[in-house]
Amino acid sequence: MSEPAISCRGVGKIWAAGTERAHEALRGIDLKVDAGEFIVVLGPSGCGKSTLLYLIAGLEEPSAGEIMAHGVPVTGPAPDRSLIFQETSLFPWLSVWQNVSFGLSLRGTGKAEQREVARQVLFRTGLAETFDKRPHELSGGMRQRVAVARALAMRPKVLLMDEPFAALDVQTRAKMQGFLLDVWHESGASVIFVTHHIDEAMALADRVVVSTARPGRIKQIVGIDRPRPRDPFAPESVSLRRKLTELLSDEVDRAFAEQEA
C-alpha cells in the first residue's frame, strides 16, 4: 500500500481565533488523496474550500488536526505542492519564460538552464510561442495556462487549484479543462481542484468531495469511474448532475440563510 499523496486527519481551521471576528471555516476534514488522483472539492461559495487548499499548501496552519504530504507532516510551503489561483498571479514585470522559471531562479539555477527548462515546459504545454511575451499581452485563458506551466516547472507531486478557471468564459473554460486533463495525465501529479461548478467537477474528477456550507465539512464523496472526455449529456451524466445538484442546493440554501441571519 503506497503512501497517500495528501492525507488530512480531523483538519479544522478557525480564522482570527480568539477575537470577536473569529469564524470557523473548516471542521473535521478527513481526506486521503492517492498519488495521481484527481479530486474535485465542490461546495458553495465561502464554504472554506480555498482554506483547505491554503492549509495543504502550507501557507496557513490548521487550528486542529494534521495534514501529511507523502507521509511527512506539512509545516510550510514546499515546491512539490503548487498552488494555482483564480485570479491571474503571473508577475507582470517578468516575461512568460521568466515567470515559468521563477521558482528555479529562487534556487540559484543558472540562466541558461532556467531558459531551457522554461522552453521545455512551455513547449510541452503548447505555449512555446508565448516564450518572450509579457503576461498583459496574453488572454485570460492563456495566462492561466502559463500559470499551470509555471507550477509544472517545479515538478510538483500535488497541484492545488483554487477555482482556476472561474474568471474565464464558458468556451475557454471547456478548453482549459481539456488542457488540464492532458497536463495531469502527462505529469502524473495528484490534483486537488476547488470549484462551485457542478459540470466542471463532473468533467474532471475521479472523486467529487461535496462540502457543506460554513463551517466546511465533507458531506459526501462521489466517485466518478468513467473515462474522459465525458459526454455531459450522457444518461449517467444527467443522473449524476441531479444528485450533485441536490447535495449542493441544500448547502447553498443554508449558506444563504446564514448570510441573511
Binding site: 501557507l59 503548487s82 485570479e87
Partner: protein
C-alpha cells in the same frame, strides 16, 4: 523547410513595440496634449489681458503677461547671484544677468532633486525595513506618524539651527517635507501588494528576503513612481519657502525680494519660470516612468499617469 519540430521560440512575433518605439510613440501621443496645454495657458493669459484691457486688473498689482514678459533683460537684472554682502566683493561684481538667471534656476533645481532623491532613498529603504523587521516598525513608526502632520514651515528654524545658511537648509527642508509622506506611502504600497504574488513565491520556496527583493519591490515600483511625481511638485513648493529665508540665492529668494521691493512683475515672471520647470521635469519623469515600467500595458500606464 529547415524548421525543426521544436516550435520557433525566439522567432515568435511579439506584439510589443520595441522600447525606443514606445518612447517616441509616447511623445507622438503627447503632442496633442502639448497643444492643449498651450491653448489652456493661452486662454488663461487672454482672460488676464482682457481684465487689464477693461481696467479691472490694476497693472501695478496684477501686471498682465505682456507687461511682465516684455522686459526679459530688465527682469534678469534682479537675478543677482553675486555674494556682494561679503567683505571685499564689489557691489557691481557678479555674472551677467542671463548667466545669473541660469545659476539661480540651476541652484533651485539642484536643491529640489537633492532633497527629492534623498527623501526617496531614505523613505523607501526605511519603509521596506519597517515592514521587514517588526522591531524597526515599533521603534520608528510612532515617531514618524507623530511628525508627519508638522508643516514644513515649522522645520524652517530647525533647518537654519542645524545647517545655517546655504544649500544645506534648503535641501533639508525639501527632504523633511517629503520624507514622512513618502514613507507612509511606501508602507501603504507594500501592504497593497497582491497576496497572490507573495503566496506564489512562497509556494515556490522563496524566503522572506527573496519575496521582498523579487516580488514586493517590483510590485510597488509603479506606485512609487506616482508618489515620486506628486512629490516633485511638493519639492518645488517647499524649496521656495526654504530659499525665501537667506539661503543666498534661488528662485524663492528672488520672489521674496520682489515682495519686499513691491515688484509684482518680477513675482509673476518668477512664477512662470517655476511653472515651466515643474512642467518640464514632470514630463521627463513621465518618460522615465515609461521606460522603467515597460511591462505595464499602455492603458494601465495611462492610469498611472493620472
Amino acid at each position: 523547410m529547415t524548421s525543426t519540430p521544436v516550435a520557433p521560440v525566439r522567432a515568435a512575433p511579439s506584439f510589443a513595440a520595441p522600447r525606443w518605439q514606445r518612447t517616441t510613440g509616447f511623445i507622438g501621443a503627447w503632442l496633442p496634449q502639448l497643444g492643449w496645454a498651450i491653448v489652456s495657458v493661452g486662454l488663461f493669459a487672454a482672460i488676464w489681458e482682457l481684465c487689464w484691457y477693461f481696467g479691472w486688473a490694476d497693472p501695478r498689482l496684477l501686471p498682465p503677461p505682456h507687461v511682465f514678459l516684455s522686459d526679459l533683460t530688465g527682469q534678469a537684472k534682479f537675478f543677482n547671484t553675486a555674494q556682494r554682502w561679503q567683505v571685499g566683493v564689489a557691489a557691481s561684481a557678479g555674472p551677467s544677468p542671463a548667466v545669473a538667471v541660469l545659476i539661480t534656476i540651476l541652484s533651485s533645481t539642484m536643491r529640489v532633486f537633492a532633497g527629492l532623491g534623498l527623501a526617496t532613498i531614505v523613505s523607501v529603504s526605511l519603509g521596506v525595513a519597517i515592514r521587514y523587521v517588526r522591531l524597526v516598525e515599533h521603534l520608528t513608526l510612532p515617531t514618524i506618524t507623530l511628525l508627519a502632520p508638522v508643516s514644513p514651515v515649522a522645520w524652517l528654524p530647525v533647518a537654519i539651527f542645524i545647517f545655517g545658511i546655504g544649500n544645506g537648509p534648503a535641501i533639508f527642508m525639501v527632504f523633511v517635507a517629503l520624507f514622512f509622506h513618502m514613507i507612509l506611502a511606501t508602507i501603504t504600497q507594500i501592504d497593497g501588494v497582491n497576496r497572490n504574488y507573495i503566496n506564489v513565491a512562497r509556494t515556490m520556496g522563496a524566503g522572506k528576503w527573496q519575496i521582498y527583493r523579487r516580488v514586493i519591490l517590483p510590485a510597488i515600483l509603479p506606485g512609487l513612481l506616482v508618489v515620486l511625481r506628486f512629490n516633485l511638485f511638493g519639492a518645488w513648493m517647499v524649496v521656495l519657502i526654504a530659499e525665501a529665508t537667506g539661503v543666498g540665492f534661488g528662485l524663492g529668494q528672488v520672489i521674496m525680494m520682489a515682495r519686499n521691493t513691491f515688484n509684482p512683475s518680477l513675482v509673476f515672471f518668477t512664477i512662470v519660470i517655476i511653472g515651466l520647470l515643474g512642467f518640464g521635469f514632470d514630463f521627463l519623469l513621465r518618460l522615465v516612468q515609461r521606460r522603467i515600467l515597460y511591462w505595464l500595458p499602455n492603458r494601465a500606464a495611462g492610469l498611472v499617469d493620472v
